[in-house]
């Protein structure tokens, strides 16, 4: 509808408001949502970082040492700490949202959502223990 249209009872003129560019700052849940979306960049960074680590380890001990020195500089440390925080946010929000997306039936009964979330956390703890175990055995 044209904005300069003349109003009559048979030619209504609707009022439309534009969504602000900063709509996500207006409410905590919107802000958290944007942080969750942003976390995907840090997840991608960690994947790249791990690939660089694998490449360095496969090349030589010198390259691995260079990788460790590179990782030690304050910028990389800050980036990786920030990435860890975002990945924790990503995992926690993902696990908490999973029950809404998954409906699991066992023996004809629907499992409660909390059980699906708890099983996700249990899986995370189990995998973490296995990795920790491997590291401890190695050392």
């Amino acid at each position: 509808m044209r904005h300069n249209a003349v109003y009559t009872p048979y030619h209504p003129r609707w009022h439309r408001t534009r969504v602000s560019t900063y709509w996500w700052l207006g409410r905590w849940s919107y802000f958290l949502f944007i942080l969750r979306e942003l976390s995907s960049i840090f997840v991608a960074w960690v994947v790249i970082y791990l690939l660089v680590l694998v490449a360095a380890v496969s090349k030589s001990a010198v390259r691995y040492q260079q990788f460790l020195d590179w990782s030690r500089n304050p910028f990389m440390l800050s980036l990786n700490i920030l990435s860890l925080l975002f990945i924790v946010l990503h995992a926690v929000t993902w696990f908490n949202l999973a029950p809404q997306a998954m409906v699991v039936h066992v023996g004809g009964r629907r499992l409660p959502g909390s059980l699906i979330a708890i099983s996700n956390y249990a899986g995370l703890v189990a995998v973490s223990i296995v990795i920790l175990g491997l590291l401890l055995i190695r050392w």
Partner: protein, 247 residues
């Protein structure tokens, strides 16, 4: 507690002004009054030109959705005393064009609703002589939550994606599609999937989750959309791995 409360009500009178203004009304505030009672009081005794939609007064018809202090609410289910001492800001639903005062244009939602075929689709209707389509309580439970939707559009008002991209088919329409897909008597899931798997369908949703939080009937549209995505992804994988079986 004060026995009066001030309502700042959004006014849009296209014959007089091209922008929204706010009028302040001081009202009595008995503890049993909801926002709709306040609006009816204004309409009856203070300013008869105030326009808003309402019908049932009991959270069934879905007509009186509006923003109360910025939150999408049913005016008939929002107690004024919860906002005491006020003031309370009452505005039309966000993300919709405003026709007048608190009345929004809902044609877009209605056309989206019909697109997803919110009725039981049968490939072949059985003759009446065969009797009704029977359903177990368990089968009813599968879709009952989604059938509680009253089309009040609060979820559209809470959804930033719909605000940014009005082509997005939206939470309630998808939840209602899921209501019929999960109904054991329905055979229209494939037809609905064609509409909902388009760009403006389920994949437009980025799971903000606000639709579920504001739903006055606890329908969980966000959950319906995510389940739909999972189902769609599983079907895509099936078609990829077993192309013949999918045909």
């Amino acid at each position: 507690m004060s026995d009066h409360i001030t309502l700042h009500v959004a006014r849009y009178r296209p014959e007089k002004a091209s922008e929204t203004t706010f009028d302040a009304f001081e009202l009595p505030c008995p503890k049993e009054w909801v926002v709709l009672d306040g609006l009816n009081h204004i309409k009856d005794r203070m300013d008869g030109t105030l326009s808003y939609r309402w019908s049932c007064r009991m959270g069934i018809c879905g007509s009186c959705g509006m923003l109360v202090n910025g939150e999408p609410k049913l005016a008939c289910a929002t107690f004024l005393s919860d906002y005491a001492p006020g003031p309370v800001r009452v505005e039309p639903l966000r993300n919709f064009p405003v026709i007048r005062d608190l009345v929004v244009e809902m044609g877009d939602f209605m056309s989206k609703l019909t697109r997803i075929k919110p009725w039981i689709v049968r490939q072949v209707e059985k003759p009446l002589s065969d009797g009704e389509y029977r359903q177990t309580p368990g089968e009813l439970d599968e879709y009952k939550q989604f059938s509680m939707c009253i089309n009040c559009m609060l979820c559209y008002s809470a959804c930033p994606i719909y605000g940014l991209d009005p082509h997005f088919i939206g939470p309630a329409a998808i939840a209602l599609a899921q209501r019929y897909n999960l109904d054991s008597r329905d055979e229209g899931a494939a037809e609905r999937m064609q509409i909902l798997s388009e760009h403006d369908g389920i994949w437009g949703c980025t799971f903000v989750g606000e639709c579920t939080k504001v739903c006055p009937k606890h329908v969980d549209p966000a959950g319906a959309i995510q389940r739909y995505k999972l189902q769609s992804a599983v079907e895509w994988v099936k078609a990829f791995v077993l192309p013949r079986a999918a045909q």
